[in-house]
């Protein structure tokens, strides 16, 4: 709560600063040149490799433009505070890395530079559509995507065989998954993981999207208690009551032990799960497609680079973001970080890595969470209702309605 209040305070100050800064939203201004500072983060544990990567990317920009680029690697810890403090003091970077729930918060108070005026003639068609959803706020583009991830189900092949199913023919719909879950339960396995104490992005939201619903729109229209939302609440409730998900699912932060112990049919995972499984080599696994009920959907984040509105070198900053996210630099960046490129043409880096290639093919189905300035604030409110439902205190409909009411209150503030 204290953290949220502090961020709110910073955002308010940011709004004041943005109000005092030059308005550059009317068009692309200035010549490309001078010096810019870029704040990125350590994406892997290998600082040396990343340094080489950034050198290569900076060089590709400096070869084309007479400009100097300073890349500064900022730790992930307290990144919001650091960025907002520096921007509020008008002393921040010219380009920085952002994630989907940050972008609308910053853009909504005018802290980000709109990039549309700088994109004339730039190849935008190659970007994965779902990646651009994350970088757009109220029909304006505030960032260019560099990476994506996707959360989908990883199945334990031994368990699939134990329940008499075929690993080559994995469930694609809720109905098919339910059939497998029943068999798994009969054989003493959990069907999948559900970490009710964690982010809603990895629990409730994907089911809502798969049921054809949504949480809240950019225009603050609350949708969580619509038909799709209630169906998702009901499906999760059913999984819990039937014992398809573990008993600790109400508050669990992780359930890796059950998965690693071979007691679970499938676990929701991403590229990190893949790296972990491959490193350990203990479980023989296959990756399944994101499930669908009315719509095939999954959670997947999008990493982007954005330009603050109070940069004193907007043209160079915007040009650098364009260069950084072009097809070649997406390859360079994602080869090192092992994320999925946000451009279709750059996905060829995984041609020799079938699992990563498979994950990359699913990014088209991803959604980045709730794109709304209140996206972070509403999560604990929804979580509380979801947990109350799993505890048996309220019905799925009541939980969805109560969550909707809480969201209404938050977005109307």
């Amino acid at each position: 709560m204290k953290k949220i209040s502090f961020l709110t305070l910073l955002l308010v100050i940011g709004l004041v600063v943005a109000g005092c800064s030059n308005d550059t939203s009317g068009g692309a201004e200035g010549e490309v040149g001078g010096e810019i500072t870029v704040w990125a983060h350590p994406f892997t544990g290998d600082a040396e490799k990343e340094e080489e990567m950034w050198d290569k990317i900076s060089t590709s920009f400096q070869e084309e433009y007479d400009a100097e680029v300073n890349i500064e690697i900022i730790p992930w810890a307290n990144r919001d505070q650091k960025i907002l403090t520096a921007l509020a003091a008008n002393n921040g970077p010219d380009v920085f890395y952002a994630i989907p729930d940050q972008m609308p918060q910053y853009a909504d108070v005018g802290m980000l530079l709109e990039l549309d005026p700088y994109l004339e003639g730039y190849d935008m068609d190659d970007f994965v559509d779902s990646a651009l959803v994350s970088t757009t706020w109220k029909d304006k583009l505030y960032g260019l995507p560099i990476l994506q991830s996707v959360d989908t189900l990883f199945y334990n092949k031994s368990v699939i065989e134990a329940i008499g199913e075929d690993p080559e023919n994995l469930p694609e719909t809720w109905k098919e998954f339910e059939a497998w879950a029943v068999k798994a339960k009969e054989q003493g396995f959990y069907a999948t993981s559900f970490q009710g104490g964690g982010s809603m992005n990895n629990t409730l939201y994907p089911y809502i999207w798969q049921a054809g619903g949504d949480i809240v729109s950019a225009d603050n229209e609350v949708l969580i208690n619509g038909e799709g939302g209630v169906e998702a609440f009901s499906f999760i409730n059913k999984m819990y009551k039937n014992g398809w998900i573990p008993e600790d699912s109400v508050t669990a932060m992780e359930q890796n032990a059950l998965w690693e112990d071979g007691q679970m049919l499938a676990i929701l995972g991403s590229g990190n799960t893949l790296a972990n499984l491959q490193n350990k080599g203990k479980i023989d696994f296959v990756i399944g497609p994101p499930l669908k009920n009315k719509k095939q959907a999954a959670y997947g984040t999008t990493g982007m680079f954005v330009v603050p509105s109070n940069t004193d070198n907007p043209a160079t900053a915007a040009e650098f973001v364009k260069t950084l996210t072009n097809a070649e630099n997406q390859r360079t960046f994602n080869k090192v970080t092992q994320y999925i490129p946000a451009r279709e043409s750059s996905k060829d880096i995984f041609d020799e890595q079938p699992f990563l290639s498979q994950l990359a093919s699913y990014t088209q189905y991803t959604l980045p969470g709730v794109i709304n300035p209140k996206g972070r604030d509403i999560m604990p409110m929804i979580q509380a209702q979801l947990q109350a439902m799993l505890e048996g205190d309220v019905t799925p409909q009541e939980a969805a309605d109560a969550a909707a009411e809480a969201i209404e209150g938050a977005v109307s503030q």
């Binding site: 100050i13 350590p42 994406f43 544990g45 500064e72 307290n78 505070q81 650091k82």
Partner: protein, 267 residues
């Protein structure tokens, strides 16, 4: 028999307190990126110094150590001296508004650090102190908690010492250096230890004020080495290296540390 059970209990307690340190030190010799299911995964079957080699690979870690030493040692000595002077003044000198001034200073502690960070950042940016040692040294030159500790301690020392020195013709400065300071060594050492620990371990302020890698202290440097998913081996190695100076300081000053805490009434 009773003694035996007491020892067993003490052994269990000691072991449970030491276990995290054991995991930290042994884990630093293990090349493992992820925390694994096996609860004893941190025991290195094949000990390796790869994590240490990685951390020391290009000398930047030594620079981070140097930065930490600079932003820690200067405030430590400065706090020990200035807090002793101010503690002496607030404990023994009588002047109008003494209590009001002291408790106003104390009230400042109630303001969360996070609320002051933006005004401080703006001020330091105007001074040109961002990415310099000044931003981390100047605000730490003295601290009201140190003044409070020393004041409490000195209030317990009879005024007779001072009065006797006055009769012998000593002035205030002589009394401070020859009578008060030697008597205050335990509490001054405690203030120094507190200052050392808080400055050495501080992540938040350096993280906000420093953006250039070469200016990072150890805390921020280590954080910058970690990818989004972390790296168990590197984290344990960094923690071990970062822990050593704090441990040594505590080892050398523990007598003063406990004495100072007891005598200043902060039990």
């Amino acid at each position: 028999m009773k003694k035996f059970f007491t020892y067993i209990l003490l052994f269990i307690l000691t072991f449970s307190f030491l276990l995290p340190f054991l995991i930290m030190v042994l884990g630093s010799f293990k090349e493992v990126e992820y925390v694994l299911l096996d609860p004893f995964f941190w025991i290195p079957n094949d000990p390796s110094i790869a994590n240490y080699t990685y951390i020391f690979r290009d000398g930047i870690f030594l620079r981070w150590i140097l930065n930490s030493v600079i932003i820690t040692i200067i405030p430590v000595f400065s706090q020990m001296f200035l807090c002793a002077v101010l503690g002496y003044i607030f404990a023994k000198k009588k002047f109008p508004g003494r209590e009001a001034i002291f408790w106003t200073f104390m009230a400042v502690i109630m303001i969360p650090q996070q609320l002051l960070i933006i005004p401080k950042y703006i001020m330091f940016a105007q001074f040109g102190w961002i990415n310099t040692y000044w931003a981390l040294i100047v605000p730490e030159l003295w601290g009201i908690m140190g003044v409070f500790l020393i004041r409490q301690y000195l209030q317990g020392i009879p005024n007779d010492f001072e009065e006797a020195a006055y009769i012998d013709g000593a002035n205030d400065i002589q009394i401070f250096f020859k009578i008060i300071l030697p008597l205050s060594i335990p509490v001054v050492a405690t203030v120094g230890t507190f200052s050392f620990i808080s400055n050495w371990n501080d992540l938040f302020q350096p993280l906000i004020y420093m953006t250039e890698e070469k200016m990072f202290p150890v805390t921020v440097g280590l954080a910058s080495l970690l990818g989004k998913e972390g790296n168990f081996g590197v984290e344990m190695t960094g923690s071990t290296l970062s822990f050593i100076p704090t441990f040594l300081i505590f080892l050398f000053f523990q007598r003063y540390f406990t004495e100072g805490i007891q005598m200043s009434g902060l039990k």
